[in-house]
């Protein structure tokens, strides 16, 4: 019943969750490239769909971490609330840049993420 496409989506979700569980990140750095390079998404649609998936992932993970008492709600909201304004601006900007520019910026983000992983 499950098509090859559905299996690819399932593998993408599992890989994103794996990365989240290992490194405490949302998983977008895994989801966006897999959607673009493996599932034929264009960059804009990949980032939009990634954000929708991240809502679910981050909710699961926050509840899980919250039960261990690791979440500082006050400080989380202190950075999270201004970030909402940033996200509205970021999505607005994204509609005004060329699709391939998003891919270029994403490649730079991946370089930054790997530097962050190595320097931890």
């Amino acid at each position: 019943m499950a098509s090859g496409r559905t299996l690819k989506l399932a593998a993408t979700g599992t890989a994103a969750g794996l990365f989240s569980g290992l490194f405490g990140a949302g998983g977008g750095v895994v989801i966006v490239p897999l959607l673009v390079l493996w599932l034929g998404y264009d960059e804009r649609r990949a980032t939009g769909t990634s954000l929708a998936a991240i809502v679910v992932i981050a909710l699961f993970a926050t509840v899980a971490q919250g039960t261990y008492g690791n979440v500082d709600y006050g400080k989380g909201l202190l950075v999270g609330i201004p970030a909402v304004a940033g996200a509205l601006l970021g999505t607005w900007i994204q509609q005004r840049v060329r699709t391939e520019t998003i891919g270029l910026l994403f490649a730079l983000l991946l370089v930054a993420v790997s530097a962050d992983l190595v320097l931890r």
Binding site: L37, N70, I102, L108
Partner: protein
């Protein structure tokens, strides 16, 4: 405090622009500026990601850039991956995992760059 707000807002811009959660900026803001431990910062970063991703997904949906069906499959299946990731983190040395993922990210970055230059040479009007 102001620096934390600025870093938070910047994380939001990166999130909306590139479709990621923004943890790469939330975690340093929470450790270096607000004094949380790495473990608490990573957990708290996930809380901050929820409203950010929600706002970004809402806007992108209005722009017609969200496939809700695919997003639900990826998000739903990620729960299994999270459990596997936590289990793996307890078996394999953290340093080996970090270096392996860093190398993988660089490979993916190279592929995205190649795609960028192909698109540029296909439409050289920019």
């Amino acid at each position: 405090m102001i620096l934390a707000v600025v870093l938070g807002a910047t994380a939001g811009v990166v999130s909306g622009l590139l479709g990621v959660g923004g943890g790469i900026l939330f975690v340093p803001a929470l450790t270096l500026v607000l004094g949380l431990s790495q473990v608490r910062a990573e957990a708290t970063s996930l809380l901050a990601i929820v409203p950010v991703a929600l706002a970004g997904a809402w806007r992108q949906n209005r722009y017609g850039n969200v496939d809700p069906h695919d997003g639900a499959i990826i998000g739903g299946l990620s729960a299994a991956g999270v459990l596997a990731g936590v289990a793996l983190a307890n078996v394999v040395p953290q340093r080996a995992l970090q270096l392996a993922f860093a190398a993988l990210m660089l490979v993916v970055a190279t592929r995205l760059l190649r795609r960028f230059f192909r698109a540029r040479s296909a439409a050289p009007d920019a």
